[in-house]
Symmetry: C2
Subunit: 176 residues, 2 copies
DNA sequence: CCGCTCATGTAACTGGTTACATGATTTA
DNA sequence: TAAATCATGTAACCAGTTACATGAGCGG
């Protein structure tokens, strides 16, 4: 029933507890993937929902007159997180996510070879800079000894590299 | 302003024109990525919106008493499609999409090594079967001489292969 | 003529988004 | 003391989903 964001927020609180909603927001906002914005309108109501479900528990921070709330995952919340992580995973077609680049190439018939090359060049530049960022983040995670954050960034790196390799195939067909 | 789905629908009509809304639905529903469901509630209102914008034009099918509508892309619609395809592409962080597997591994601390292995095994099986499907579809596209559909499926294949390669890294850390 | 597919549509809902608003705390 | 950041929240909106509903056309 719960959305991926809901589970991810529970996971983030679990990793950083005790933490504020604001911290959770920042983590999503600064994430390398922009899939979730970490907007106030999503995170604050979501954390309240999680508290209603009894999977997180908030408490006012000591000596904080603005009523900052510190969230912790409850025993029940830890159980929910574990249940979500266990197989079965979402079905395979959900593992193949939508790729805006792939979608565009599907309609390449509509533009000229010259314009197709321009798309390839633009995509390559964007992917290269994002790859560099992912590498830095991966290195930082490794230094901090955070194995699973490191692995998550490795996933990003391999995924971007796959896109770049695919671009070479696209380029080869455009060249003809 | 327009969503990716809106542009993709315009592209699909352009590729298959003249075609019915029902055909468009089927194409999304049968797509290898389940990102868009092709539900009636999305496609029918969307096509009406596109017609309001003047980018597609519908006409009743000859000798069809149930009022089946055949859609075509207008000159203006072709222009919109081309403008969307041209650079600049969406920014790099949008090119790195959310991967439910990556998200789960980020929170692997919450489960035991044994359970982590179970996730890896499940993921590998699902990705392998999906890879086989993508390969079949790619082959079919190649046979039909549809270069850009073939390329789109190649993107899926490379992406799944990258995920499988990454799973080996995940497995290596779980093993310890 | 029965069931499947073709074909079109609506209503209620959901899970987010953007934009706005307020005020406390920290730092330059 | 001004500006940036921390912190919390709401309201309006939007895109897309599920579920429901109707009916025509067609193959066995």
């Amino acid at each position: 029933m719960a959305s991926e964001l809901e589970q991810a927020v529970l996971g983030v609180v679990w990793l950083h507890q005790p933490c504020t909603a604001y911290q959770v927001r920042k983590i999503f906002a600064q994430s390398i993937s922009s899939h979730w914005s970490g907007s106030a309108g999503s995170i604050y109501p979501l954390l309240r929902r999680l508290e209603d479900q009894g999977v997180v528990k908030s408490a006012a921070r000591e000596g904080d007159s603005r009523g900052t709330l510190l969230y912790k995952v409850t025993r029940r919340g830890a159980g929910k997180l574990k249940a979500w992580l266990k197989p079965p995973l979402p079905s395979a077609e959900h593992l193949l996510t939508m790729d805006p680049l792939r979608v565009r190439v599907r309609f390449f018939d509509a533009i000229s070879p010259k314009q197709r090359m321009a798309v390839v060049v633009d995509a390559r530049a964007k992917l290269a800079s994002h790859l560099a960022l992912a590498r830095e983040l991966a290195k930082a995670a490794e230094r901090q000894g955070d194995t699973h954050l490191h692995l998550a960034h490795r996933s990003g790196i391999l995924s971007i590299r796959a896109q770049i390799a695919w671009l070479r195939e696209v380029e080869a067909t455009v060249d003809q």
